[in-house]
Amino acid sequence: MEAFTSLAGGLAVAIQPANLLFALIGVLLGTAVGVLPGIGPALTVALLLPITFKLDPAGSIIMFAGIYYGGMYGGSTTAILINTPGESASMATALEGNLMAKAGRGGPALATSAIGSFVAGTIATLGLTLLAPYLVEIAVSFGPEDYFALMVVAFVTVSATFGDSPVRGLTSLFIGLLLGLVGIDILSGQSRLSFGVPELYDNIEVTTLAVGLFAVGEALYVASRRHVHEEKLEAVRGSLWMTKEDWKRSWKPWLRGTMFGFPIGALPAGGAEIPTFLSYATERRLTKHPEDFGRGAIEGVAGPEAANNASAAGTLVPLLTLGLPTSATAAMLLAGFQQYGLNPGPLLFADQPNLVWGLIASLFIANGMLLVLNLPLVGLWVRLLMIPQPWLYAGILVFATMGTIAANPSPVELVMLTVFGILGFLMRRFDFPIAPVVVGLILGPIAESQLRRALSISLGDPMTLLQSPISATLLAIALLALVLPFFLKGLGRFKAVED
């Protein structure tokens, strides 16, 4: 198997002591930051990006793998112990998990989510290992028009298909695309939407946007409605360990969750929300203990949590093989690659096999580290959850502003951060999804360069997009994905199971 030879090569990179250390630091930092309420994996990665500026690419990207998986683990801890999922993908976990914690079974809930994440993460990373070489082979034959069409599919599915409202999702996406236009156009050397501000000439930083939308926006939003909502932390009482009964009830949901999560994450469809709610609904239907649902059923934690992690590993398939980020977190990882001038895609597999396979091998290692570290350290993570809310958000804002100014030492960058913070606040208030903005900013310029390449080959004839069979098929899929939600009003309504 060619994939395993490559993986063995990657493993040799990943087990170098320095890289193991980077993975460990990443895992610990990712969990510590991800466990803080209101901080999802995307913001975890964005906040920690400046720390990796001075590392070498391999070490930095391996550290990122740890941060990514650590942030996921941390997020589910928060979802279970406080009913505030840092992101929509943890919402299903929070439903039953928080009820279990309230019933004094927080320990087993954390355990099944940690072990389930490990099982799902390992299977899904294995899926990534096997699938990546095939996709890379297919991707090599793609022309620019096919890439552009593929990105259109990603744009539509990320923003319109699976959200509450296609109009609001597409609005978010186009705000991201607009922000992606700002700066000097590399091909023609002309500046667009810069209005003579020098800081705007070198494009808008994805980290500034993400930190503004997620950190500042979230702080403003939570502060503005503190009088309406009060968060309550559930103490972890009783045994941490799962009983034999718990194991028996958990292993099938883990595997089923993985089966939902990985394919949906690996398709450029974006969002772990759908597989987690599909898994929740399935477990609820299949359970032998229906009376437990609504009072803290372990199946309702095991399944969605596995689905969440499998889908997170799944999103790495389009990200690494095609350079296509389909979630806000994947967009941040892409930004991490770009800071070293690396562009994920088939070429990266050919040019830098050690880096890519080292990253994939590190995912296995990070996953194992998390399993070993997380359960014994759960007391420490819980203590982090107990930081008083005023200091927590004050600390987040201080770190957010410092990270921004360290990356780009100019007050204008902080003004942008503040403006994006206000934008994030307004979007939360009016229920516009945030992830499409981030994906639009980072993927927009890439899509533009593919489109222009295709158009210059065809001497400006837009019909070239329909003449390639791959591109025509993909555009048809995009059109279908765009129109479908208007007809099937119930498609995005998996949330209804909440009630």
């Binding site: 597409l170 309406v228 958000y393």
Partner: protein, 157 residues
């Protein structure tokens, strides 16, 4: 999200639609100033045209939603903490812009945010913020060798 039973025109939703239309106009105006280098295709103008067109359509879509009262229900809003946090950020930006360094600004931001979240100990929090600022400065500037804007206080280190 279920729409509210009484379908009223949502003024905020209409404002959003107008803002989107204005953005579409700005993108179009900016695009019209670009020069085309190749006689065959639109080059740098292609994407702005798509974005401007899309924003116009979405402005219409949002306006229809607002007229039908489709926007999700919103909770009451407390403006005071928002003004406090934005004020803290504004102080930080001003201090950095006028060479005051970031430490005082960071301490102010920390104290302002924690006040916004209901704490009533501004001086204590200012000191905590200052300690965190020193810690972050040492981490970023000395350990990671990133440059942070320096004022009189930072030069002491």
């Amino acid at each position: 999200m279920t729409s509210s039973p009484q379908r009223r025109i949502d003024v905020a939703g209409l404002v959003i639609a107008v803002i989107l239309l204005v953005l579409a106009g700005v993108v179009w105006w900016d695009m019209s100033k670009l020069q085309i280098l190749s006689p065959y295709d639109l080059g740098p103008k292609v994407m702005p045209i798509i974005v401007s067109g899309g924003l116009t359509l979405l402005a219409i879509g949002n306006a229809i939603g607002a007229l039908r009262g489709d926007l999700p229900a919103r909770e009451s809003l407390d403006w005071k903490p928002i003004i406090l946090i934005l004020g803290g950020l504004a102080c930080l930006i001003a201090l950095i812009a006028f060479g005051g360094g970031f430490m005082i600004g960071t301490a102010l931001l920390f104290a302002a945010t924690s006040t916004a979240f209901g704490r009533r100990a501004f001086v204590t929090d200012f000191v905590i913020g200052a300690v965190i600022a020193v810690f972050v400065y040492l981490l970023f500037a000395k350990l990671l060798t990133l440059s942070l804007p320096a004022g009189p206080l930072e030069r002491l280190f």
